[in-house]
Symmetry: C2
Subunit: 350 residues, 2 copies
Amino acid sequence: MDRKLWEQLPVYRRLENEVKRHIADRRLKRHDRLPSESQLAAEYGVSIGTVRKALNNLVTEKIIYRRHGQGTFVSPRSRKGRILVVAGRYGADSGLGEDFLNFLFGALDEANSADLPCEPALVELEDFFRNLDDVRMIYPETVGVLFFRGHENLLRAEKALEKQELPFLFYGPNLYGEKSKRYSTVHHNEASVAALLAECYASRGFRRVLSLEDGNDITRARVRLLTEALAGSGIVCESRSWPELSRQPEELRRLAGEFDVISAAVTQTAIEAVQILERDLRLRVPDTIAAAGIDNTPGSWQLRPQLTVVDLCNGENGRLCIRKFSELITAGSRPFHLDGKLALIRRESC
Amino acid sequence: MDRKLWEQLPVYRRLENEVKRHIADRRLKRHDRLPSESQLAAEYGVSIGTVRKALNNLVTEKIIYRRHGQGTFVSPRSRKGRILVVAGRYGADSGLGEDFLNFLFGALDEANSADLPCEPALVELEDFFRNLDDVRMIYPETVGVLFFRGHENLLRAEKALEKQELPFLFYGPNLYGEKSKRYSTVHHNEASVAALLAECYASRGFRRVLSLEDGNDITRARVRLLTEALAGSGIVCESRSWPELSRQPEELRRLAGEFDVISAAVTQTAIEAVQILERDLRLRVPDTIAAAGIDNTPGSWQLRPQLTVVDLCNGENGRLCIRKFSELITAGSRPFHLDGKLALIRRESC
């Protein structure tokens, strides 16, 4: 804190901050006994009344607690800063819920087990936007905001958060160009996703890849990057729109005979394609054509054959996000940019 | 509060509580201006210093805020009591994640949109048990604990929560007998689950039902209740252990010829059964044998044919839980017992 500001604070506030600093530095640990009121008064050269006022406030904040006749002790967990995790309502019809929950539990577990100064707190998208101009007031102890995908939400909130001096982080694909330098990011590096798939297909000796996109920007970008990565290995990649192809089973049958593998830009698409091939067309995956998807949703292992996928490792990346974001918040440093973990999970389908 | 206790409180604490009560009663609303310090001093017959001390504490608690030169105002959302939602880590390998997230978002949305005095806060199972004896200290503002399934967790925590005078609620199946009267419950009424299925099968004219259990108490109880419900309609029900039957495809083929419908005690089992029938045995669902499951997980609509299921309505029931539990906490009343919503979702498989 600025020296001049510090000296404007009332004496009891300065004493409160001293105790908080000792706890943050671990000079005072959980259940440690504080010096007596008269010792504190002597040490800081203030009145007993001032000491008592400071301690009362710290008790109110649950930073310390009193045991009758025994003194004042440090609470076993000092109140943590909250990192608001903003997420839309992922219902049973989105398939995104499991990803998000893995992310959130990874972040929670990291905050607890590493005893980070910050912890994640779930906030619902609509509630967040209703209160966007009063984030610090409405969500007490907030020290940062984390967007789980939904880049358009981040752009909508950016100005208001900057005005409130709240740092924010985006977790999602690295498809937003220069803008992404303005805030912290943990990315799914989409070029690496493509490289993992290209390596897998090359190792299987595939020469022709059928790539399926879903008609949105992210899946189109994935198809483009995969095409580039495959070109490097001399593998041909043709793309189709799944919403159209899914209504043309006979065209799908023809393509299944022509290509080595279906590479779906999201796992949901791979699941649908495999189901149509196996059930309606009576073809076999991977005998007629192999299949792979992106994102290890429950469907990818519930299906027969179980699907080969690029796992976006949401649990691990939740840990990474909260750890690095906590460091940034504590140190007050500049935005960081990291690639999250990715892994190819090879199963029967490819 | 007990009259005698009240009179032992310091005057500034009594004044703080007065303001809080006015806010709780909505006599003071968000952004309302409080009377000036001198008005408050006169109204309550106390010194300006006492008023200032009380207001400072309320500012620290973020219940009110100051605007320089304009006075003191009620914060737009007073700090809410937290209902800890205890949940194990449901990874991508459990299939429970989507259910839990629907429940949690339902509860969050209800707390916000109905402006309830309590809001849900997610706590991870292991962290919760590490801090079981200090719940109020470790999780500030906690006013109650909600168990999302996991009845064994509730039993393990019961004594410690009672000692801390924290009410708790169990959301899950009604299969725990007399014990369930000791705490509040929102149940999946398993007899009603069975009745919904029995009604569905009777309306389809089915005469023979093959019921699959998973080797645990809940699925065995479900099979027993279904058998009873079907007996009432003169429908025969035979049960098999799925872990065994899934390793005997030819026995499954034989049974598929003999029975009208596979009734799986959880949807995951139905998904696996349909996949083996369609893919390995080249039989057709529902032509050879129909199929139904319990719980509307993503797999139930990702599969072809889409599955008929009893939906446990986790989103709606999350709303119900938080609303009723908030009422109980606010009124300090006795445990309640409610049945949650259920719905049959009829799809292609049955």
